[in-house]
Symmetry: D2
Subunit: 202 residues, 4 copies
Amino acid sequence: MKKVLLTGFEPFGGDDVNPALEASRKLTGWTQGEALVVTRAIPVVFGEAIATLAAAIEEEKPDAVISVGQAGGRAHISLERVAINVNDARMADNAGNRPEDQPIDPKGPVAYWSTLPIKAIVRALQESGIPAAVSNSAGTYVCNHLFYGLMHYLAKEGLSLPAGFIHIPLLPEQAAKKPGQPSMSLDLVVRALQLAIEITLR
Amino acid sequence: MKKVLLTGFEPFGGDDVNPALEASRKLTGWTQGEALVVTRAIPVVFGEAIATLAAAIEEEKPDAVISVGQAGGRAHISLERVAINVNDARMADNAGNRPEDQPIDPKGPVAYWSTLPIKAIVRALQESGIPAAVSNSAGTYVCNHLFYGLMHYLAKEGLSLPAGFIHIPLLPEQAAKKPGQPSMSLDLVVRALQLAIEITLR
Amino acid sequence: MKKVLLTGFEPFGGDDVNPALEASRKLTGWTQGEALVVTRAIPVVFGEAIATLAAAIEEEKPDAVISVGQAGGRAHISLERVAINVNDARMADNAGNRPEDQPIDPKGPVAYWSTLPIKAIVRALQESGIPAAVSNSAGTYVCNHLFYGLMHYLAKEGLSLPAGFIHIPLLPEQAAKKPGQPSMSLDLVVRALQLAIEITLR
Amino acid sequence: MKKVLLTGFEPFGGDDVNPALEASRKLTGWTQGEALVVTRAIPVVFGEAIATLAAAIEEEKPDAVISVGQAGGRAHISLERVAINVNDARMADNAGNRPEDQPIDPKGPVAYWSTLPIKAIVRALQESGIPAAVSNSAGTYVCNHLFYGLMHYLAKEGLSLPAGFIHIPLLPEQAAKKPGQPSMSLDLVVRALQLAIEITLR
């Protein structure tokens, strides 16, 4: 059995739901083939987000880590390619922090690659009828922050697990309040994450 | 019991599926409260589309008519407000016709309003968590053509039924082949059409 | 000499400039070949807009009328095809009016076509390197209101002039304050309107 | 006098013009305050692009380097923040190369930051009425390739010049052939680059 740690962010920015959290909850305890999924909710707070994830990795000792966040405005599942060493927030996080052009770790490298098989996952999703693409930017808000923190933690600890970040669209019920925004059903997001987990463990 | 005629277009433009047809098939025979749904597939062919719909109205004598078509690029359910008296196609229809700036009926008025309760339907959909909006243009291809033909036929026959046109997004499996395109699950589209039918008959 | 009445709306919606007004001012008194341009500023107020335009037509007795408005979000010159008989405002006009689903004239027809040679103008603009397209909706705010009012006035007065409405993008200085919005330089807009006038009088 | 090396890419992807090349040509020999601009045309070819730029730096010994490329679909001047060590092309370059997921330099770091004052430039542009924003991805085509190659070359040579990459929109004459695409006039792009040079040398 291989353990996959799947994380989802808490709601933020005025929303009372976050599809990343909803999807990860649906997958708590999911097993298939070799995979067992454990999950964590991650606060949308600079610093705390990384600390929560690092504690979960120490506790769970997973074989792979996939962090998931919401990307308003995107119509497809986005496999993030690269995390960059900067916090640059246009709006405050859930604790009121709004860093501008601050390094995540002043001693860290400029960027880390995702170590998930992102191209293979995109192909598998598309073949299963799920809109998906590689993304070259996870932004500079708490999503990129967590993604960078994840890869930096694994590097410092000398752990070579497959790990990375996936952005998902808004839920239809969120988009219903934001005219013109694309969305994706929770069922489809859950199927997409299941496929991503399977491809990652293969 | 009130009979609602629901129509969906056949696939076109290289797609092998049309969400409008899929959704209408799922609703064939659907009953709730006063509603009984009968459906027809409509060819994506100028002229034939209207003829097929007119024949169905004569045969079924419905209490309301809702025609549905696919709108690539739109992220929400679009309640069309107005049909205009022009065929102006950028690509050929399924019979190879590509009319430019031709009136649908040279003797017809410039435009017809939808007689569906479009604002009430949009509100009901949004309150149910389904992305929806009023649209002020159904384009100038076979969708607008059918919409105009429907309203013109009812006007000429002196029938005052609620009738109109609804555009729906691509299915996820279509969008999976068209990077960046928004989509909506068939389940949600079906729920949206059920709500539209209920509000229309209220 | 043929007189063309060119109108541009005053600023609205928090902007302190309107590219339609700026462009029309630049063209005041412009002559070329048969064309002489006279201009008017139009208030962004339901009702007053049409009254101002009707008074200008009576006074100037033009051979053609082209009304121009700003279309935030559009990247090209839009030749509007059709005006519809409805006022449906999402935000208040400059006098605080915010009509919803009101007819412009309860006795008027559903819609009027533009009588400008819209396809020929689009072709001429594109050939001159100016982004342009036909648009099938002028919206339901004061722009469509003025366009409908223009065509309805001419119809009631029995005047058969070429007349219609052109939407133009934001100016770069407006877009500089609205991240992601497309824009077009005033010089290019002025050239586009000159071409539209020439094609209209041909 | 401080010398600024400004580079612009040659046309590619079926276009017969590249706004980056046009703008850089207009600025050849431009001087203002301390600035003297020298320019180079860069081939849209993986490998050759970097070699051409490196040769120009050796020859010109500039005090700052700004490389410029065209970004179809973007409406504003994009100050690129970060270059990543990957070539991943969706279409062939001008020599027929189409690398997928190849490192630019297998021994290079994952990414480099721009050393241009990107936030100060964005503010200056916006204050001058020019649409501008920071971008967190220069893509994975020849633009990012050149940007990475530039920063990697400077790092290897131990040169600490301000250097980076700016993406600019299509010209109106290009957008006239690509319906819906935003554009920016060459004059405005030239003014934007002049301001970027001035802020960089300050």
